[in-house]
């Protein structure tokens, strides 16, 4: 199986390089393949100016790609060190994990990773540098950003609903005939069916667990100070899931 997956990876690398010829495989080890080089681009977005830029980038592709997505870094010291969406070591925080997976799913190849995640990020940075605000908005930091993603994309009324949704995804995946975890009282398939299906498809075991922890964490604070109540059934479900989570 190793050999064939490597071949598929090679096809993706070849496809990537045909468009972005400044990139090349820099090294290959047992744990990852590193592709790096110059990334010039001209990017446009509806209603916004076209930006031409060039960055030196590096991506590390893990052996379990695409179960785990590559880490992208800007290695030319062009991005301001105070830019918030970047680790001290240069790794770019492209998006909330579930959103990263959603976008990747539209074109699940290395070329898709660059054209739909890395370049839009660099476009966003260039725009921010020039105008002082983000063209595509920013997600809140940390767990709050994850919670907000669920609340906004499913238009949930409160955090308890978000908690119910992530617990539902965790325990059931997708069940059209269940009551929708948003709390509407309707069945999933006539309520948030499509979006839940999509979330279920995009999630990996890792992202699902992370999102569960994130949303729960957000809720715990409010539960502690009494501003949020969760029903017993949900409390029991949470304990059940915690039992299944790997630490």
């Amino acid at each position: 199986m190793e050999g064939l997956v490597r071949r598929e990876l090679q096809s993706q690398i070849d496809e990537l390089r045909k468009k972005h010829s400044g990139l090349a495989v820099i090294s290959e080890t047992d744990t990852e393949v590193i592709v790096a080089g110059k990334l010039p681009f001209e990017a446009s977005a509806d209603g916004l100016e076209t930006i031409t830029g060039s960055f030196d980038v590096e991506i590390r592709i893990p052996t379990d790609y695409p179960e785990q997505l590559p880490q992208a870094k800007e290695i030319g010291n062009q991005i301001d060190s105070n830019y918030e969406h970047r680790y001290p070591d240069g790794t770019l925080c492209l998006a909330v994990p579930i959103e990263e997976r959603r976008v990747f799913a539209q074109q699940p190849t290395l070329l898709g990773f660059f054209d739909r995640l890395v370049i839009p990020y660099l476009y966003g940075y260039s725009f921010w540098k020039k105008h002082g605000y983000h063209p595509f908005d920013e997600a809140e930091h940390g767990y709050e950003g994850i919670l907000r993603h669920y609340m906004d994309s499913l238009q949930l009324k409160d955090e308890v609903a978000a908690l119910r949704v992530i617990c539902f995804l965790f325990e059931y995946g997708y069940r059209g005939h269940h009551d929708c975890p948003c709390g509407s009282g309707r069945r999933v398939r006539v309520c948030h069916g499509q979006r839940l299906r999509a979330l279920h498809d995009y999630h990996t075991t890792q992202t699902r667990q992370m999102d569960f922890v994130a949303i729960l964490n957000n809720c715990l604070k409010k539960i502690d100070d009494g501003s949020l109540q969760i029903p017993d059934a949900l409390r029991i479900q949470i304990l059940r899931i915690l039992g299944k989570c790997k630490s």
């Binding site: 070849d14 001209e42 990263e100 370049i119 966003g124 940390g142 950003g145 299906r197």
Partner: protein, 399 residues
């Protein structure tokens, strides 16, 4: 400009999947033929004790379906379905078997409307589908006719004028033979391909286990698909149409000649080269000894041709090759030569525009154009890559 074979192989793989049946359409086809199967199974047939056996044959069974092109336009998919009735040959007649199946189909109001006039061997149902191309389903009435070791062999009916006779066939046996040739490559490809299909079609297949084996494509199957598509376009004009190599010949020879090459390009070029190596037979000359011993294509002393059915050597697929001054034989080798030039030799084409035009003409513009970027970079000097951003993610920070 020379393209490296790895890139070209990837391109061929992509083109082949464009001309393949999409998984959603495949599922639709399965639903259609299972529906027909259920209807036939529930019928009562005089003298029949026991269950009917209904199964696909041909390209649906072998995983070599291509979108057919007739007169330059996409036509319906061909589904071939065998309907075996549990009757003994000595206790029935071909006419009776044929008409029992026809009557049963006609008993269903829906099928009666889709039914074509009686065919030589089968009954045809024409499905026009709302979305995309339709299906052309050939239902082949048959009875078991085990012969010695060929226990899957069947007897089918053949109508000529008003006379019905028996004919021999063994689609199950052939399917098993083909699977044997495909097995090694299949085992290597199955897991990764099923995962990819499930990822891309998650609305159809909730899990990898639901993806049928028939949707996996080995380099052998891809090579056969490309050969069939090339044949369809090559023989598109009516003059030479009747002499086009039949799919069973293409499939059988390809399967014999496949040597478990790992990519489409190597598989195709291996097969085509060995086919071309038989061309000397047309002029009555001898060919390479090792190929001659395999006897895949033979020229007999009386000048006629032989390509044996691997599961029933009595059957000669090339039994019409000598007609009209060996028209079909000549057409076959000319086509093999064209395959070499059109699909394999293009690697050495200097001018990218000529390359694009050539591949479009020989494999079909719609299948090729989408993937040309893989092998023919833009003709201007390297432009800055252009990206249009739609539905981007919001940047984040996890602390």
């Amino acid at each position: 400009m020379t393209i490296d074979t790895k890139t070209f192989s990837h391109f061929l793989e992509q083109v082949a999947s464009e001309i393949d049946i999409p998984p959603g359409k495949y599922q639709q086809a399965v639903e259609r033929y299972q529906g027909v199967g259920r209807w036939l199974e529930e019928g009562t047939y005089p003298e029949c004790t026991g269950d009917l056996s209904i199964y696909p044959q041909g390209s649906f069974r072998l995983g070599t379906v291509v979108k057919p092109i007739r007169d330059g336009v996409e036509a319906s998919y061909d589904i071939d379905l065998v309907c075996e009735l549990p009757l003994q040959k000595s206790r029935t007649t071909p006419q009776s078997v044929k008409s029992m199946v026809g009557s049963r189909l006609r008993e269903n109001g829906t099928y009666a409307k889709l039914l074509d006039p009686e065919g030589r061997r089968c009954w045809t149902l024409e499905y026009a589908e709302q979305e995309g191309v339709g299906f052309h389903m050939d239902v082949l009435p048959a009875i078991p006719d085990p012969r010695g070791l060929l226990d899957t062999a069947i007897a089918i009916t053949d109508k000529s004028e008003s006379n019905y006779s028996w004919s021999a066939s063994n689609p199950r046996g052939y399917g098993e033979w083909f699977d044997g040739k495909n097995q090694a490559a299949f085992s290597l490809a199955v897991t990764e391909q099923k995962q990819r299909i499930q990822r891309n079609e998650s609305l159809i297949f909730a899990s990898v286990d639901e993806v049928p084996d028939q949707l996996v494509r080995t380099p052998l199957q891809r090579a056969i698909q490309l050969m069939k598509r090339h044949r369809d376009l090559h023989f598109n004009d009516h003059a030479s149409n009747g002499y086009a190599p039949i799919s069973i010949i293409i499939t059988t020879l390809a399967a014999h000649l496949y040597e478990n090459e790992l990519d489409v390009y190597s598989a195709l070029s291996g097969i085509v080269n060995k086919l071309r190596a038989h061309a000397a037979l047309v002029e009555g000359r001898s060919i390479d000894h090792s190929l001659a011993t395999r006897g895949l294509i033979q020229r007999r002393t009386d000048g006629t041709w032989y390509i044996g059915n691997p599961v029933g050597p009595d059957e000669n697929f090339a039994d019409r090759w000598h007609e009209d001054n060996h028209a079909r034989a000549r057409a076959f080798f000319q086509w093999a030569e064209a395959l070499q030039q059109d699909v394999l030799h293009v690697l050495n084409m200097e001018d990218p525009r000529v390359l694009k035009e050539h591949l479009s003409r020989t494999l079909g513009a719609s299948a090729v154009t989408k993937h040309l970027g893989l092998i023919a970079p833009p003709s201007q000097p390297q432009d800055v890559p252009r990206i249009h951003i739609a539905e981007p993610a919001k940047p984040w920070r996890d602390w």
